[in-house]
């Protein structure tokens, strides 16, 4: 286990290096010049040259890359070209916002979706299954931004119960912070629930066909223990892989939801930076996103043996 963990962590290094090279080159290959974005069209050539020199943009690419990599390894992701903020603390702050809504909504979604999927599978092709499956398809097909807008319209505008857009840190004002989280979380829950429950349903249907389930029933067990003790651990493994993938991509930025609710999350940070050609921020965000994905996958792999004793690390 310890050796496995160490090996997996070492294996992430080449991956991250490749990501770093790609991220770096991508930024240099796209047309457009960050300096002219910074100073505008009116600046004279001398000013532009001076800024370019200050930022190190006149150096050869390999030199720029090694310089950049060295800084990153010491925790210096540079400063934003547009705002002058240090990139690392800004990113982490925004990751915190995204992580809050994503983790809360994923927990809620799992609590609802896993039993719902199991129930649908247990009652496969019966009325209950039809209703659950129908709702799930609805949740999957409706785009998250539209759900978000509808929720804002109903609870924010019509009923006036909840704040519509914006963000208050929970550390600053717990009650108001919570109120601001409700709508974004709710719209994410609906979307996540649909896919997770469908995965759970199909995994469960496969498991319920197996002999050990019939054997458990033949022992005289009631349906509750049959489903939770015998079927759930075996049916949940594929769903867990999927949850890992989903979690990785959402933590990297739930862009749509963050935009609809104007949350200062990681996804919007990246999108804004792309529009402004803010190289240090884009590079930092992409690296951070890659790292998050790798870590989430690692966590999922480590969780497998809990469900399936055949998996040995």
């Amino acid at each position: 286990m310890g050796a496995y963990l160490l090996r997996r962590c070492l294996m992430t290094l080449p991956t991250l290096l490749i990501v770093a090279v790609i991220v770096f080159l991508l930024m240099r290959l796209v047309p457009g010049d960050p300096v002219s974005v910074m100073v505008g069209d009116m600046a004279d050539p001398a000013t532009i040259a001076a800024i370019t020199r200050n930022l190190g943009l006149d150096q050869p690419l390999p030199v720029q890359f090694l310089h950049w990599l060295g800084n990153i390894l010491t925790g210096d992701f540079g400063t934003s070209i547009t705002t002058g903020e240090a990139v690392l603390p800004a990113m982490l702050h925004r990751l915190g916002v995204t992580a809050q809504i994503v983790l809360i909504s994923m927990t809620l979604a799992m609590l609802i979706a896993v039993p719902a999927g199991m129930l649908a599978a247990w009652r496969q092709n019966k009325g209950t299954d039809m209703v659950i499956t129908g709702l799930l398809v609805l949740f999957i097909s409706v785009p998250s931004f539209w759900v978000g807008l509808l929720l804002i319209l109903l609870f924010g505008v019509e009923l006036g119960w909840l704040p519509t857009v914006g963000y208050v840190a929970i550390t600053d004002d717990p009650l108001r912070g919570l109120l601001y989280l409700i709508l974004p979380c709710a719209s994410l829950v609906l979307v996540e629930m649909g896919v997770v429950a469908r995965m759970m349903r199909s995994g469960m249907i496969d498991v319920l066909r197996l002999d050990y389930i019939t054997h458990a029933r033949a022992k005289g067990l009631a349906e509750g223990p049959v489903l939770w003790r015998h079927a759930f651990p075996n049916a949940f493994a594929p769903t867990l892989t999927f949850i890992g993938l989903l979690l990785g991509s959402l933590l990297g930025g739930a862009v749509v939801i963050e935009t609809v609710f104007t949350l200062p999350g990681l996804g919007r940070f990246l999108v804004d930076a792309i529009e402004a050609r803010d190289y240090p921020v884009i590079q930092g965000c992409l690296l951070l996103v890659a790292m998050i994905r790798i870590l989430v996958n690692l966590a999922v792999d480590l969780a497998y043996p809990l469900l399936d004793p055949r998996v040995q690390l």
């Binding site: 002999d211 050990y212 019939t214 033949a218 005289g220 003790r229 075996n234 004793p309």
Partner: protein, 574 residues
């Protein structure tokens, strides 16, 4: 007659949305402690019958009529809660596949104890004591330790013993066993059956044994019910119903059982062999442990020598894990060869270039065991059969596909169908057509009839023999089934843990088995042998053992020593 324990009256089972019945009016009665065998081919409804008793029919199947009386109580009338009281406690059930009938996510102890806790409310210590006691009765080594392990840590035979132990733990009055030993090797099968019968006798448990294996029924049961397409064909004591059958279907079943036919072919003239294998070693790389350390590869075959003449059938016999399938795969370059030489027609396979090797691969074709997974379900039969033909015109391809299909006894109508529209036997014919269309020199047939019913099996075996006579190719025939091997093979090689322990011409080997392992293998098979007008159940009579110096029960060394006429047996090195 004694009071019956189980009595089924006019049971009819159908599937939702269809008028047709899968079980058409079965009546049966079992006395306490009695052993009844239900035999039939696939689709006979025997499994549905077994599942209906406990109300565990698969989704879609419905009981249409009939009563199931157990201890005077109609099980079909009970509420789910009352029925659960009967399940496990009064009637135990075990299934065929030991690999999927235990839950992989729970420890053995938990699965064994579940029923005891539920039905008898015993304390944890008491549950453990009873579980260990039952596992001991099933000869599990170190039973107390077994309880903390997971199913994947046991072999198939051990799992099946655990499974049956778990069903008998509650001392039920009836045990329903659905093909409990079909997935096991013959020696393990005998051990599991012997243990089960002994345990049932000790507990006074009646046994309802569902199987397709007539030999097992004749060996284990007192009475038998033969089913076909959901109909009861005949019912009564094993002798005479099974052994001196009067109805045509049972007679057909018994006559389809594979047995030796004709005289063996004369030893081939000393021509150069088609296939020659020298000192072949195969080892699978082991899983990496720790940070970088990789343990040494796990050897599967330890130096196999083999030669196969043109037109000859060589059978490889052995239990699972003996390396027989690996040997077949190594010929096709599908296994990691660690040493030795494989040559076809005098050409060393290892020295060939990639294109030469592909050309060679066409001359060696393969037929697999499972006709359901070896054909792509999205392709039509003509495409499956013709895929290997390259560089031919569409017209020629169509002609050759049609010829190959008619060779295997499938008419024109089959070319445009999909695999799922065919029966198991027809699919296996397609797999054979796919092999012979390449005009191969050698066909590696890996358990080609194990998944088929006995009547279909007989047809496929005679087809294989017939094709060989017409086209002259050689077979490397891999099987665990001694009867099948005896019917088709010219020569036989017995493998045990990657070593050849005995080889020889078919008649030599079957009439004078010498190695202790070969003898155990032959003694383990319950058989139905022709006896005058009827049949006789029992085990193959073995000749007295040959006193051979150095013949050790387990051979991890030794060399093959010649007895006579090509019959060799592994002995300790002189």
């Amino acid at each position: 007659m004694t009071r019956s324990l189980l009595s089924i009256e006019d049971l009819r089972i159908g599937f939702a949305g269809s008028e047709r019945l899968a079980v058409k009016g079965i009546d049966l009665a079992m006395a306490p402690g009695e052993r009844l065998g239900v035999v039939g081919e696939s689709g006979s409804g025997k499994t549905l019958l077994a599942r209906a008793i406990l109300g565990l029919l698969p989704p879609g199947a419905q009981r249409r009529a009939g009563r199931i009386l157990f201890d005077g109580q109609d099980l079909t009338d009970l509420s789910p809660a009352t029925l659960r009281h009967v399940r496990g406690r009064r009637i135990g059930m075990v299934f065929q596949e030991p690999m999927v009938s235990l839950n992989p996510a729970l420890t053995i102890g938990r699965q064994l104890g579940e029923g005891l806790i539920l039905h008898e409310g015993l304390s944890a210590a008491e549950v453990r004591r009873r579980s260990v006691e039952m596992l001991d009765a099933f000869r599990m080594v170190d039973a107390a330790n077994c309880l903390d392990k997971y199913p994947h840590e046991f072999s198939g035979g051990m799992r099946q013993r655990i499974m049956i132990a778990s069903a008998l733990l509650l001392r039920p009055a009836l045990l329903i066993a659905d093909e409990p030993t079909t997935a096991l090797d013959v020696i393990v099968q005998k051990q599991v059956l012997d243990l089960t019968l002994a345990a049932c006798r000790d507990l006074g448990t009646a046994l309802l044994l569902i199987t397709h294996d007539l030999g097992v029924v004749a060996d284990c049961c007192e009475r038998v019910l033969v089913m076909r397409h959901g109909d009861p064909v005949t019912q009564g004591p094993v002798d005479p119903v099974l052994l001196r059958p009067s109805d045509p279907y049972t007679r057909q079943l018994l006559h389809s059982l594979p047995r030796r036919q004709g005289v063996e072919t004369a030893p081939a003239a000393p021509a150069p062999p088609l296939l020659s294998i020298k000192d072949l070693r195969v080892a699978y790389p082991a899983r990496r442990r720790g940070l970088f350390r990789r343990p040494p590869a796990r050897p599967v075959l330890h130096g196999i020598d083999l030669s196969l003449a043109r037109g000859e059938t060589l059978a490889l016999v052995g239990e699972s894990g003996s390396g027989k399938t690996t040997l077949g795969r190594a010929l096709l370059g599908l296994a990691p060869v660690a040493g030795g030489r494989v040559s076809l027609d005098g050409q060393d396979i290892a020295t060939l270039s990639a294109p030469e090797r592909r050309a060679l691969a066409r001359r060696v074709q393969m037929v697999f065991q499972d006709p359901f997974s070896s054909l792509d379900p999205r392709w039509r039969i003509a495409r499956i059969v013709g895929e290997g033909l390259t560089g031919v015109t569409a017209a020629e391809r169509a002609t050759r596909v049609a010829a190959a299909l008619s060779d295997v006894g499938l008419g024109d109508g089959f070319a445009d169908r999909f695999p799922h529209e065919l029966s198991g036997g027809q699919r296996q014919r397609v797999a054979i057509a796919r092999a012979i269309i390449m005009k191969p020199d050698l066909i590696v047939a890996d358990e080609p009839v194990s998944a088929l019913d006995v009547t279909v099996q007989a047809q496929i075996l005679s087809l294989l023999k017939d094709l060989q006579r017409r086209h002259g190719f050689s077979y490397l025939f891999i099987s665990h089934h001694l009867g099948v091997v005896e019917q088709v093979a010219d020569r036989v090689m017995v493998l045990y843990r990657g070593h050849v322990v005995e080889e020889g011409a078919r008649d030599d080997l079957f009439d004078r088995p010498t190695h202790p392992y070969t003898r155990r293998l032959m003694a383990a098979v319950p058989e139905i042998l022709p006896d005058g007008d009827g049949f006789r159940a029992g085990h193959r009579p073995l000749p007295a053992p040959v006193p051979l110096p150095g013949l050790t029960p387990v051979e991890q060394g030794g060399v093959l020593t010649l007895l006579q006429g090509g019959h060799r047996v592994r002995c300790a090195a002189p």
